[in-house]
Symmetry: C2
Subunit: 448 residues, 2 copies
């Protein structure tokens, strides 16, 4: 698509206004659902709904799947349960389940009631899995064949399944007499097989199957590690349930990275897709008020040292640099630990080894920064003792912040809490308070 | 693989020590290259090299491809050009090019010299593309067929190409008489076609082909948007050059997200894969010294207000909360803008619309935080005028930080500089300095 989405949107809006359905359909011919969904971001939701109603059902369903989540919410609110059900029946099972899950409970119930028997069963089955499990992201459309059948039979099965599958599948899955997954055959190999070859003789036994209960991030790790375009999903008995394709995993990887990023930034992850001011405020204010409260505590700590500050006012000059450096160092070491934990499972021994390296690195950076700030304080304020205080507390704060930065994420990980919580305003502010405490305690002790 | 990589590594180490090649090969049977590469992280590099020499050539090549970059560097240093060339000849063209690109120039030259004619040509061709372009990540192994040929001929072409392809391909590409890409056929459709059907009658004309010069992040966006398992790569004349599969793109997406994350954290992105203390120090120290320098500037600014501080020492208490809040707010709005820019191309109008929303949200959060800090200052220090100063500068700093946070990434993006540079110690520190300046200027003006 060569035109910008907003330009295309205004073309569509004009055609919608002219009520010329034929011209509209002609214009849309050859345009892909993903592009139309992108243009819809720049249309009022009423017009998007009007557009969807004019489109052929299958295409309309495809556009709904591709809409951004916040647009989709608005659009679905404006469609009747009947209209949604018609669209849902055109979708692949995983998309259908995602969209029904986004509806309000009551409306979702009505939509499910309106579905055909088989679609309803599939949907209810899928909705039973947690949203972020393998079962929650799998599609039920797979081609499977028994291991004792021939290549010709497998091709026959593809033909039978074809009307309800997209063409984006790469493997025929192989099951035994009790429907347990025992292997898979890449399509390219099936093409080259003689029609009477048994499936068993051409299948791979290693399928990298994942249990339906596995967390989606673990599925992503497996697919990434072995470069798999798709994986089969099985239940506890090893029965084949469905498959996950790599495009679903791409979303998981992006979401996971964005989640860590948003934690570090102190925003909600949803914000990257969020538009409304009210939601922005609701997501950010808790972080900010926490930060503010921490800041007030810093102020209280400072006030306890009022006499020292009054005697040597220059002490106050170095408060921002001490707190800023502690924060910078803590974020550096926690960020490295958090990303490591997001991609690997780390043993306690490995964590200790990493901690030693972090501390090792921070001894070097800490001593460098301390010497620099000592020289600054000494040469500028002409007070060598003040230099000792500032330099000494800089070193202490850097070492302390590194240790906390590396340990807290690991401790959270062990306690099965998201390690990324070790960043963000709360932790940064605690670091500020600790830094000020170390600095002024040292000052009181050395300068009195 | 059910054992932990470090446990498996120690098993391998013992077998290596016993020099029993048969037992070692028996142990490794059925293990995947990715798992062996993971275990190698816990082996001394000498032992990894020893292991690689014992393995069948093809498998050994596969393990090298799966090693982490830092391990691979060490391993390749210990292999002769002849050994590397043998491994490279077993690899897919894209992996071969990546690995030769990692070698020192002289050794890379020697390796290329030792390759067979055809492999050498391919490699030189691939190495000519920038590393982060579509050409730089594509593989040359594609199956293509002319549009006027039959389905049976396409299957014949798959058979011919099979020995040098992995089985992970999903499309047969269709070219015209001058080798220009004109369409593609999904394998599933080819399976169902009658042998004498022409390729033209079953092909899709939309191929989502990307030019070889396209940036890899743009390729990732296209594949993600249209949910494509692979895309063909063409040159300026539209000639088919190769293909990119989604597993290469998964790496791009992860790297891109990690790059933004590492910028925000003030570490190098390489650090997520980096082990050595020296490298850690080299990556972090520049950021920290920048931060330190900024901190010294904060101190200088504070010292210019020495008299005001001395008169009302309570002013100093609120310095950390003002700087911290400015930093928090700036990071929130820049992070949202940066992620948005990473996934979409934003027009100036759209940017302004977003800025208004950011400012709108920050008026609400700013007023809330200002009132809270005003009440704190007033009730605690019993000085209403101090409350006005702290509350007023809190609001100013929050509005200013939001505006900067949202505008700077966009300006950098427009200037074709990575927007993620708008975060990290440099920007945070400038924010500190600005915050202190606003706060104490307001104080001097209102309290004197």
């Amino acid at each position: 698509m060569d035109v910008a989405p907003e330009v295309y949107a205004s073309q569509l809006a004009q055609l919608l206004k002219s009520k010329d359905r034929a011209a509209l359909l002609h214009e849309i011919e050859g345009v892909e659902a993903a592009d139309l969904a992108l243009a819809a971001r720049h249309l009022p939701h009423e017009e998007t709904v009007e557009l969807l109603k004019l489109l052929p059902e299958e295409f309309s369903a495809d556009v709904i799947v591709h809409l951004e989540e916040d647009d989709r919410e608005e659009v679905l609110e404006r469609l009747t349960p009947r209209e949604i059900a018609d669209a849902v029946e055109e979708m692949a099972s995983d998309d259908a389940a995602d969209i029904v899950a986004e509806l309000e409970e009551e409306k979702a119930g009505e939509v499910v009631e309106l579905l055909e028997e088989e679609d309803r069963k599939e949907l209810v089955h899928l909705l039973a899995y947690p949203e972020d499990s393998a079962g929650g992201i799998m599609a039920l459309e797979v081609v499977s064949v028994r291991e004792d059948r021939t290549a010709a039979r497998a091709i026959e099965k593809i033909r039978e399944a074809f009307h309800e599958m997209s063409e984006d599948f790469y493997y025929v899955y192989v099951v035994d007499g009790s429907a347990r997954l025992v292997g898979m055959v890449p399509l390219a190999r099936l093409i080259l097989a003689a029609p009477d070859q048994t499936i068993r003789s051409i299948m791979d036994e290693e399928t990298h199957a994942v249990p339906a209960t596995m967390d989606q991030e673990d599925v992503a790790q497996i697919m990434e590690k072995y470069d798999l375009p798709s994986v089969p999903v099985v239940n506890e008995e090893g029965l084949l349930l469905g498959r996950i394709t790599v495009d679903d995993i791409v979303d998981v990887i992006r979401e996971e990275a964005e989640e860590d990023y948003s934690r570090l930034a102190g925003t909600g992850e949803e914000e990257f897709r969020e538009e409304s001011i009210t939601r922005k405020v609701a997501l950010r204010l808790p972080w900010l008020v926490t930060g503010l409260f921490g800041g007030v505590l810093s102020a209280v700590v400072l006030s306890r040292f009022e006499k020292n500050l009054q005697r040597v006012i220059a002490l106050a000059f170095f408060v921002p640099v001490i707190t800023a450096m502690g924060g910078n160092v803590a974020i550096q070491s926690s960020a490295v630990m958090i990303r490591k934990l997001a991609t690997e499972d780390i043993s306690a021994r490995e964590a200790i080894r990493r901690l030693f390296r972090e501390v090792g690195a921070s001894i070097v950076t800490g001593v460098t920064c301390s010497v620099l700030i000592f020289l600054t304080a000494w040469l500028w304020v002409h007070d060598r003792r003040l230099g000792y205080v500032v330099g000494g507390s800089m070193l202490t704060v850097i070492l302390m912040a590194t240790t906390l930065g590396a340990c807290v994420p690991f401790a959270l990980f062990r306690a099965r809490i998201d390690p990324a919580l070790a960043t963000g305003p709360f932790v940064t502010t605690s670091n500020d308070i600790l830094g000020i405490l170390v600095y002024l305690t040292l000052a009181r002790w050395m300068l009195s």
